[in-house]
């Protein structure tokens, strides 16, 4: 039994993923909503199974994919940083704009809200700059690697 599982480790993991996706899909029906947690568990276990199997047994596998990903790491990183930061910054800026439109609520709570939003914008802006600077660091390293 154990040998069979070991031999078909990848297959079993892949089946876990497929079953997980199916369970998550049927969970959209209100009467079958309870299947979602099992679907999520199956996807997680399937993904862990594949990751661990490849990680432990096939050191050279996906070398080409890894090289492609490494080569594209700077543009990919910049796109990710911009995409992930933009909505949060837009939400905070919207709040600051709302402050100018005469917001609801008690004066001091609104003022506190404005202060928190301003601090959040400053912190997020700083983090955004650091994120972009980190990506620039990746570019420098990539150029040095090429040399």
């Amino acid at each position: 039994m154990m040998t069979t599982i070991r031999q078909n480790y990848q297959l079993i993991s892949a089946i876990g993923l497929v079953v997980g996706v199916a369970l998550i899909t049927v969970a959209e029906m209100p009467s079958l909503h309870w299947t979602r947690v099992f679907g999520a568990t199956a996807i997680s276990l399937g993904a862990i199974g594949i990751g661990v199997y490849v990680g432990l047994t096939q050191p050279g596998r996906y070398a080409a994919a890894k090289a492609r990903l490494a080569a594209a790491r700077q543009p990919l990183g910049i796109v990710l940083v911009v995409l992930l930061f933009l909505p949060a910054m837009a939400g905070i800026v919207a709040g600051l704009i709302g402050l100018l439109n005469g917001p609801d609520g008690t004066g001091w709570v609104v003022a506190l809200g404005g202060l928190i939003l301003a601090l959040m914008l400053a912190a997020t802006g700083a983090a955004f700059a650091v994120g972009l600077s980190a990506m620039a660091g990746i570019g420098r390293a990539a150029r040095e690697d090429a040399v």
Partner: protein, 478 residues
């Protein structure tokens, strides 16, 4: 009205489906990275001493690591509080997310029971907001430390930057999502979310359509940030909550200054550490537990006198070599050149010494153990350095010329000093005239390492006829 909220408010079924389907990708990345690291550690030699005394180990892991006993220290209050805020905030937010998951996917659909309401819900909101504030303040403290205070032993690599950026972004997104929902729903218990509620008041002047659009985009980007962080986890210093905890759990329980014997030295095929496979598995795990804090550098007499050995960099050099050999992407993100005098990805074919670690670094170490004493995760720099020295001496016959007389003495007299066996007791007579500085046997046991330095001094005094310093007798060791 019972205080609660609608989980997955304003999120379409399609978005939920896609995010659940995609969760396999970051989890597979994480599992792959962890498996690669474990595979590398398993290449090491067995070390059964790490598997004994589980009670002591469990206690140390809890007190020194999880409850920060070794991270928050008297002269490290700022860094300690910074780390405690980041760690505590992250754990609170993680538990908060798990609670929502249990409500939405387990207790309600399977048991028909909802607990995410009433007083529990209100308390939850208070605590989760506190978690977000802790995380943001910890990250800002870290930014201030790296970019404003700039301790001389602290260097910043791409990885350090990205981890902080992702953590801050996660917390900000969480507050923004909450504030946008509160702005539309106008919950009467909104003020219990004591950070996002004030944020929501200025937002109320915007149209519901705008707020709902911003809410959806922030919700999706919050999930995507979680996925990116999860996928990046095993290839960055984010792995350290696991490796550090494991390192503290499996740390050496013997006295710090005690050197490990080479078992069965006459027949041993491998003497010392000449390649990574010679390291014990615990030492291979050691090098992956380093999170670049630089405490070892702060207290290292060698680093502070400008010598080539930087204990942190030595550990990172070994970690990068291990990552190269294991095909782990760790550090290949780049930008590490600033951090250490090496580059990640220099090639797995290098020879350990001198390709990765230079003999100069190894022989610079005074073996004082300050690095081990101050390392928050018990990385064992000195035993690794001594083992690599053993390899140089015993396997290659390579050592600095200054050591030659000591080796000659060892060979001729059986001790590092040029004293025949027959005169080995003579030095005790010297000490009688200096009994005022001679410690009691109880104190000698406590003095440990300093005792042997002092004996060395007296021994040299006895044999050379001049006074040698007997270090450590008048002071307690640090």
């Amino acid at each position: 009205m019972t205080p609660t909220r609608e989980i997955l408010w304003n999120v379409s079924d399609v978005s939920v489906l896609i995010l659940y389907f995609l969760m396999g990708i970051p989890i597979a990345f994480l599992a792959f990275g962890v498996a690669r690291r474990v595979r590398m550690w398993l290449r090491g030699e067995p070390d059964d001493s790490r598997l004994a005394d589980w009670g002591v180990r469990l206690k140390d892991a809890l007190t020194k690591s999880i409850f920060h006993g070794r991270i928050v220290r008297k002269n490290k209050i700022y860094a300690g509080i910074m780390h405690a805020n980041i760690f505590g905030g992250f754990i609170i937010l993680l538990l908060g997310t798990i609670i929502v998951l249990i409500e939405e996917d387990i207790t309600v659909p399977i048991f028909g029971w909802s607990f995410y309401q009433g007083d529990f819900y209100l308390g939850y909101k208070l605590v989760v907001n506190l978690g977000g504030v802790m995380l943001i303040s910890g990250v800002l403290m870290a930014f201030a430390r790296r970019y404003l205070m700039r301790p001389k032993y602290q260097e910043t690599a791409t990885d350090d930057q990205l981890v902080l950026v992702f953590l801050l972004l996660l917390a900000v997104q969480g507050f923004t999502v909450q504030a946008l929902r509160l702005a539309v729903e106008n919950d009467p218990w909104g003020p219990w979310s004591w950070v996002s509620y004030p944020m929501s008041l200025p937002l109320r002047s915007l149209s519901d359509g705008t707020l709902e659009f911003l809410h959806t985009t922030n919700w999706i980007s919050h999930f995507l940030t979680t996925y990116v962080l999860l996928a990046y986890w095993a290839y960055s210093k984010m792995i350290h909550p696991f490796t550090s905890l494991a390192n503290v759990f499996f740390h050496r329980l013997n006295p710090k200054g005690e050197l490990a014997r080479i078992p069965n030295i006459e027949e041993a095929e491998v003497l010392g550490y000449g390649k990574l496979e010679d390291f014990s598995w615990a030492h291979l795990m050691n090098v992956d537990a380093c999170m670049h804090c630089g405490r070892c550098l702060e207290y290292c007499p060698t680093f502070n006198t400008g010598k080539p050995l930087h204990p942190r960099d030595l550990v990172l050099e070994l970690a990068s070599f291990q990552a190269d050999q294991g095909g782990i992407w760790s550090g290949e993100l780049g930008g590490e050149a600033k951090l250490a005098r090496h580059r990640w990805g220099e090639g797995p074919e290098r020879e350990l010494i001198p390709g990765v670690v230079s003999p100069e670094e190894l022989w610079d170490c005074t073996t004082c153990g300050a690095c081990i004493e101050h390392c928050p995760v018990y990385i064992e720099h000195v035993p690794m350095i001594v083992s690599m020295r053993q390899h140089l001496v015993l396997e290659r016959g390579e050592f600095p010329s200054e050591i030659t007389p000591t080796f000659n003495n060892l060979e001729r007299f059986g001790s590092p000093y040029p004293i025949p066996q027959s005169q080995r007791d003579d030095w005790t007579s010297v000490s009688t005239s200096q009994s005022d500085t001679w410690p009691s046997s109880k104190k000698r046991r406590r003095l440990n390492t300093s005792f042997s330095s002092a004996v060395s001094g007296r021994l040299m005094s006895a044999t050379s006829g001049r006074r040698w310093p007997s270090a450590g007798f008048s002071r307690r060791p640090g």
